[in-house]
Amino acid sequence: MFGLDAKDTRFLLIVMFLTLATPVLLQPFPETSSLAQFNAGYPDLMQRFAIFGIFAIGFNILFGLTGYLSFGHAAFLGVGSYSVVWMYKLLDYNVLPGLILAVVVSGLFAVVIGFISLRRSGIYFSILTLAFAQMSYNLAYSVLTPITNGETGLQVYSNDPQVLLTEAGPHLPHLFGLVMSDATRVRLGDWVFTFNFGYYFTAIIAIIVFYISLRIFRSPFGMILRAIKSNRTRLDYAGINTKPYMLAAFVVSGMYAGLAGGLLAAMDPLAGAERMQWTASGEVVLMTILGGAGTLLGPVLGAAFIKYFENIFSKINEGVLHTWFGWLPDGLEDFIITIVHPFVGEGWHLTLGLLFVLVVVFLPGGMIEGLNRIAGLFNKKSEKSEEAQDSKSDARESQPAE
């Protein structure tokens, strides 16, 4: 199906199911229980999962396949956001023209930046991309204020032209009248599920771009990119000009980032320069490595993991900890809370940093490698008893790592 073999089709269908069922799957705890704060099934967070998933998938096409570490991908994210908000300002709140413009403009940016940066490799490439991104960020803050609205951030004002806007039309981001923030809440016993149009919009785009990245991974083009990672010199000697391939990979990943940036503005009609700062570039690097660079699903997992941490873990404050460890004797309770507290709530970055270091040191393949290893342990145990079944489950388990 869709030009994929049976294995990949099954994989894609699983991913599609998981993506579409997210509002239910991420809401495992009933509303009344004390664990409800771990529910991630609210629209804002789910949209972020999908959007940063797209960002990370795109980054992975460059970093995972070719090994070129870009520290400047946030520039494309920012460009995408600005494009969408400008389309709001000029036309109306329909997101489609903006998203198309976001992809086109970020693609153009990527052509220019990639053409120059790809003349160098290794750490020089990283620093060149970083320099370009920081330049865009600094300019967006200072001289480009007429375009970017500087520190305030770009937003729609009532005196903007908005030529297509009618009185009846929605004054919120929408797709041909379907408003992004529309949501249906379904109550099943103690569980509350929110089905939000914005999430489904981003989710369907995410599935499409995931499919594209799957095709790229399986294509001869993807094979060349992987060959560049393992030995570029040898490819040159084999008579293959690697430059166009690298540039294509860079531009595709830049367009993914632009699309993600555009979607951010499609969910919330704002764009600010801080989206271009190099910490944002660093974040997508973290996501990709944490999940597993070079694997299909890894970056998405990493993105979801970090966004979950950022939104859920950071809410655990001292009060919550006291309710958790309340059953312990007082002295012990205070002791444990003193130890745990720096790692949660405000300090969740610390946990993230530690985790990241551990992953780079011990699990260079990221979470996907970890899952595979765990799966491998189980398989080894069952190997003796049921050899026939093993080969089947092995094929299934190793699938996400392609």
């Binding site: 620093i127 370009f132 300019l139 973290l286 970055h349 940093g353």
Partner: protein
């Protein structure tokens, strides 16, 4: 003339900081071959050593002073800092006042220890791994260090003042005979520049004129041969890592009066310092110093109003523009050796 001189002077303090951080980065890269993204965090920890020292010296105890009465006639409780209690009021107050320079005494051992711990605990496992992974692991480490500092000192900048003697500005123009009032320059920035020149000179002299430095230089040129001669080059390189950390720390301590320490200042400096290292040439110590001062001065020239009116926004991007041009035109940098990381 005096306008040009003023911009050069203005560029010196930032340039000194860039040069000191870039020097440490290059020392680490040249000896261990590791790209250390956590170096900015070391600079930041240095700045917080100044804050810590200020707080330590400012510790006080309460005494009941019988000679002073409050309005009810009860004896007044006054805070007396330990320093004043131990050394008498005059010397004590001077010590408290000089807390930032004194913090160097704290910073050197602390930073050397942090450096040793980093190198032995984490970085030594990454010698043979690709540069991308070194960048990643040190980047993670930088986040961890930053968050630890944030946990203890909070997210807001903490001011740490220079000694009162150096608090004001002086008339540099009158000093060199250009007419009074033409160039007013803060004392502390001059101190910072002289300090960094001293530190840079010290590091170079150490490498040039001591046996230890000679062995390290030999190891930088050809690590394996030095190892075959029966010299424990790894241990010396670890010590160099500690030294590089101490240099970054000292740069941070003395920078505290110029920029109130906050937990993300390291990252801000790191990005620029990397650009400096690349412009100077990976692995070249004089290149790092030269590029540090050059870029600092260039940046201050670009922020002149005359220049900004011709090319708006140039002050924001000049360093990156220079870096891009250098990387494309001369990838080994200003003073880099041919063949070091050139591809």
């Amino acid at each position: 003339m005096d306008a040009i001189l003023l911009q050069i002077l203005n560029g010196l303090d930032k340039g000194s900081a860039y040069a000191l951080i870039a020097l440490g980065l290059t020392l680490i890269f040249g000896t261990l071959g590791v790209v250390n993204f956590a170096h900015g965090a070391l600079f930041m920890i240095g700045a917080f050593c100044a804050v810590t020292m200020q707080r330590l010296l400012g510790l006080s105890y309460q005494v009941i002073d019988e000679t002073q009465k409050d309005f009810l006639g009860n004896p007044l409780t006054v805070n007396v800092s330990y320093m004043e209690g131990w050394f008498g009021p005059e010397i004590g107050q001077a010590i408290v006042d000089w807390s930032v320079p004194l913090a160097i005494l704290l910073a050197i051992p602390v930073m050397a220890l942090v450096g040793f711990a980093m190198e032995r605990g984490l970085i030594k496992h990454f010698y043979r791994r690709p540069h991308a992974e070194q960048i990643l692991v040190t980047f993670g480490l930088a986040i961890v260090l930053q968050e630890i500092i944030k946990h203890f000192f909070g997210a807001n900048p903490i001011p740490a003042g220079a000694p009162d003697v150096f608090a004001g500005s002086f008339d540099f123009g009158a000093l060199i005979g250009l007419g009074g009032g033409s160039i007013i320059y803060p004392y502390w920035r001059m101190v910072y520049f002289l300090f960094s020149v001293a530190v840079i000179g010290g590091v170079f002299a150490f490498l040039q004129y001591t046996t230890f430095g000679m062995v390290v230089r030999a190891g930088m040129a050809d690590r394996d041969t030095v190892g075959h001669l029966g010299i424990n080059i790894d241990r010396r390189f670890t010590i160099m890592f500690g030294l590089a950390a101490a240099v970054a720390g000292m740069a941070g301590v003395m920078y505290a009066p110029i920029l109130s320490p906050n937990y993300h200042m390291g990252m801000d400096f790191l990005v620029l310092s990397f650009v400096v290292v690349v412009v100077g040439g990976m692995g070249s110590l004089p290149g790092a110093v030269l590029a540090g001062f050059l870029l600092g001065i260039l940046q201050s020239f670009a922020s002149m109003n005359e220049v900004k009116s011709i090319i708006p926004g140039i002050d924001q991007v000049i360093i990156y523009l220079v870096a891009i041009v250098i990387l494309l035109a001369r990838p080994r940098g200003l003073l880099g050796r041919a063949g070091v990381m050139e591809n």
